[in-house]
Each structure stands twice: as structure tokens, then as C-alpha cells.
């Protein structure tokens, strides 16, 4: 009896051991995972990245990015590489526009679902990337904790007309120029109108939703503030030409889109369409330029550019571009001596 019990126990143990050994022998070994490289579709920036100073090449570059996002690139590419390695000069308008493209990416159907980027080798250009606030909006592992912002209002963006944002900029001007709220009212007017235009007149383009971007910077001597404003609507020439009657279209058709912008600043086309109560924003900006409250105004929209850095008369500032910019960039300067 005792032997029978022992034998049963032994057989149970043997069975368990055999099963365990069988499991060990037949267990599937996991194959090591192959590291898959994330292929980046490189798009190299031009040496001078500036909508205001190198309009054609810079616009071409942005259109190349937009075209790449909009078409189906080979599936093994997972991201677009914004290659800024060789950039020597970069201005804020370009960074703002690049930001607008990156932010808008999610609106587009395509197999590219992210951007990667690198910083320029050139130290001055690298500094602008870091200090502009651009990197706050994009995913990065670059330490920007030591950046001081006293000399600039980093890139701000929004969709609504936001008086509180403009108030922030006004206070920035007051602090650096030592002027009062009353003397900066013209600036409030201008920026409110630009924001209003983003919502009202700037029809949505195919790629980017209407948003505005704003940036301000004071120079070392604390006597000049540069302000850059970008809206990502369709642009002034398209908006203006939609409202024209045939007579007006004929007048400006062959002159190029810069003339469309100039006519909007002149307020001419509005009287043609009998919408006298609308479209006062751009003429007001021109009035501030004439009164020398702002200087060095530049506007780029569609295939048109107005550059008042050397021009006094409205239509003398017209420059027609070959490349089309979706949206509108405004650049202007405030001089301390004029704003005291």
C-alpha cells in the first residue's frame, strides 16, 4: 500500500517535470527587433531666409514645403526635415511663416505627419531661432531656459481680435521708449485692424487656417522697435480683386498684384464697390506711414510687395514678385524720437 502511494506520487512528479521540459524545449525565441530608421525628407533652407529681404527664394522654399506636404511622398519617409544648417541670415517673418506651416500640418491629409528640424551652424542665425520663441511651439530638446526676453516680445499667435495681446505690446513699447499710453494709440489702431482683417477679409486659403502671428524686438540702443505681423489668409490681392467691378479690374489687371495692395491702401477700390464703411484698415496704416508714426513699412502678399524703405509715394513702393505668398506679412519700425 505504501509503495503504491509512493509510486503514484513519483509518477505525478515525473509528469510535471516532463511537461516543464517540453515547454522549455518548444518555447519560441523572440527575434530581436530591427531598428528602423525614420527617414527624413530633406528640404534645405536658402542661405538668406527672409520674406522681406530675400522674398523670391524664401517664398519658393515655403511653397516647396507646402507642395511636399500636399502630395504623397514615398512611404518610407516619415517626416520632412527642415534643414537650416546653411542659413546665415534669418528674419522673424520667415520663422513666423514656418511656424504657420508647421501648426497647419494637421489640417492636411497626406502620409507626412511630422516635421523635424535642425538649427543653423551660423551663431547669429541660431540665436534668432532660440530667442524668437519659435522653439516654444515646436517639439525640441534644446535648452532655452537661459534666454532672456527683455528685448523682445516672443512670437504670439491667435485667431480672434485680441486687445489684451496688443496691450502687452503697447506696454513693451512704453517700457523701452518711455512713452505714454496716449502716444501709442495709433499702434493699437493699426494692430487691431490687422487682426480684424485676418478674420474678416482674409479668406481661408487651401492649406492654412486664418491665424495671426505677432512679434516685436527692440534694438541695442533702445531707440528702434521692429514689429512683424503675419496673417495666413489668402492675401490682399485675392481679397481685393474679388470685390472689384470690371472697370476697376481693367485698370489694374496688367500692373501686377503689388498694385492691388497699393489700391487697397489708397482706399480706391472700396469706393468703387460702394462699401464705404469697410476697408479702412489699410488706408489708416498708410496714413500712419505718411505721418511718420511708423517707418520702413513693408507688406508682402500674394505676388505683390510694397517696400517703403526707399519710396515715399504709394505706387513707387510697388514690386511685383514671381512667386506667390499665401497670406500677408507686415513689417514696420517705430523710432523713439518720433514717438516721444
Amino acid at each position: 500500500m505504501k509503495n503504491k502511494k509512493r509510486r503514484t506520487k513519483y509518477l505525478k512528479w515525473l509528469d510535471k517535470r516532463n511537461k516543464k521540459n517540453l515547454q522549455k524545449r518548444t518555447k519560441r525565441k523572440k527575434k530581436p527587433k530591427k531598428k528602423v530608421k525614420c527617414l527624413l525628407y530633406p528640404l534645405s533652407m536658402p542661405r538668406i531666409m527672409s520674406l522681406t529681404e530675400n522674398s523670391e527664394q524664401t517664398i519658393d522654399y515655403f511653397n516647396k514645403i507646402i507642395a511636399t506636404v500636399n502630395r504623397t511622398i514615398p512611404k518610407n519617409y516619415k517626416a520632412i526635415l527642415i534643414d537650416a544648417t546653411e542659413v546665415e541670415v534669418i528674419t522673424i517673418d520667415s520663422l513666423m511663416y514656418l511656424l504657420a506651416i508647421v501648426i497647419s500640418l494637421k489640417n492636411v491629409k497626406g502620409n507626412v505627419n511630422e516635421f523635424r528640424g535642425n538649427l543653423p551652424k551660423n551663431e547669429n542665425a541660431k540665436k534668432i531661432f532660440k530667442e524668437s520663441g519659435f522653439l516654444n511651439f515646436v517639439q525640441n530638446n534644446i535648452d532655452i531656459s537661459n534666454i532672456t526676453n527683455k528685448d523682445r516680445l516672443q512670437i504670439l499667435t491667435g485667431k480672434d481680435v485680441d486687445g489684451e495681446i496688443i496691450k502687452k505690446l503697447i506696454k513693451f513699447v512704453e517700457e523701452h521708449f518711455g512713452v505714454t499710453r496716449v502716444s501709442t494709440k495709433f499702434l493699437y489702431h493699426m494692430l487691431i485692424e490687422l487682426m480684424t482683417n485676418t478674420n474678416n477679409h482674409a479668406y481661408e486659403n487651401d492649406y492654412m487656417k486664418n491665424k495671426w502671428y505677432l512679434y516685436a524686438f527692440v534694438n541695442e540702443n533702445n531707440d528702434k522697435i521692429t514689429i512683424t505681423f503675419l496673417d495666413t489668409g489668402t492675401g490682399i490681392p485675392y481679397t481685393v480683386s474679388k470685390k472689384w467691378d470690371d472697370k476697376f479690374k481693367e485698370m489694374f489687371y496688367n500692373k501686377g498684384e503689388s498694385y492691388y495692395i497699393a489700391s487697397a491702401m489708397d482706399g480706391e477700390f472700396r469706393t468703387q464697390t460702394q462699401l464705404k464703411h469697410r476697408g479702412k484698415g489699410l488706408p489708416d496704416i498708410y496714413a500712419h506711414l505718411i505721418n511718420k508714426e511708423i517707418v520702413n513699412l513693408k507688406i508682402i502678399s500674394g505676388k505683390g510687395k510694397l517696400d517703403f524703405s526707399n519710396a515715399i509715394k504709394l505706387y513707387d513702393a510697388c514690386i511685383n514678385l514671381k512667386s506667390n505668398l499665401q497670406g500677408t506679412v507686415y513689417y514696420f519700425e517705430l523710432e523713439k524720437e518720433r514717438n516721444d
Partner: protein, 112 residues
């Protein structure tokens, strides 16, 4: 003696007026007209009082805000000449503002 009802925009409404339409964002000209200006103006008309609008104290006014608020009153059916007669505008910080507001009101009269 005619009584005067007062609105000081920077204190009673906002010191950062916005754009034209309510859809543009906060403190628009349309919002100011519908929820402040038109209500007080109607009250003034009923009571045969004048309405004083004080524009001082704020950061500024966009053209669109002013035009929609005041030009918009005419578009809503109020008589332009009556508005000019019954409203008193104060703007010591910005000389040209009163002329601009009057122009927006009278431009609508011409259009009608």
C-alpha cells in the same frame, strides 16, 4: 436744463476694444453697440436726454470698432442727424477721434 446720461467706455465696457463683429472676438463694435450703446441711446431718446460718450482712458479704438458701433446705429435704423444732435463725444487723448466717429455716422446717412 437737459439731463445727460454718460458712458465712459474704458471704465464701463473695456480699455481694450476689439474688432468689428462679435465673431471677431471679445469687446467688438457690434457687441458694444447691441449691449451698451443702443440700449442707453434708446433710453436717452425716451427721456429726452443727451448721451455723453467718453472715449478717454483706453488703449485705443480700431476703425472697425468705431464704424460698426456708430455707423452701425444708422444701419440699424436710427437717424444720423438725431444721433449727432443727441450724442456728446469726449476725446481729449485723441483729437481726430470725434471727427472720425461723426464721419462714420454721416457716411451712412449719405449712403441711405
Amino acid at each position: 436744463m437737459i439731463k445727460i446720461m454718460k458712458i465712459k467706455i474704458a471704465v464701463e465696457y473695456t480699455d481694450t476694444p476689439g474688432g468689428r463683429y462679435i465673431s471677431d472676438g471679445p469687446y467688438s463694435g457690434e457687441d458694444f453697440r447691441k449691449n451698451v450703446l443702443e440700449i442707453k441711446y434708446r433710453e436717452c431718446l425716451e427721456k429726452h436726454e443727451k448721451l455723453e460718450i467718453d472715449f478717454d482712458g483706453g488703449y485705443g479704438y480700431g476703425t472697425s470698432f468705431l464704424e460698426e458701433a456708430f455707423g452701425g446705429l444708422v444701419r440699424e435704423g436710427y437717424d444720423a442727424d438725431e444721433i449727432i444732435e443727441n450724442m456728446i463725444f469726449i476725446s481729449e487723448e485723441e483729437n481726430s477721434l470725434i471727427d472720425r466717429v461723426r464721419k462714420y455716422i454721416l457716411d451712412m446717412k449719405v449712403k441711405k
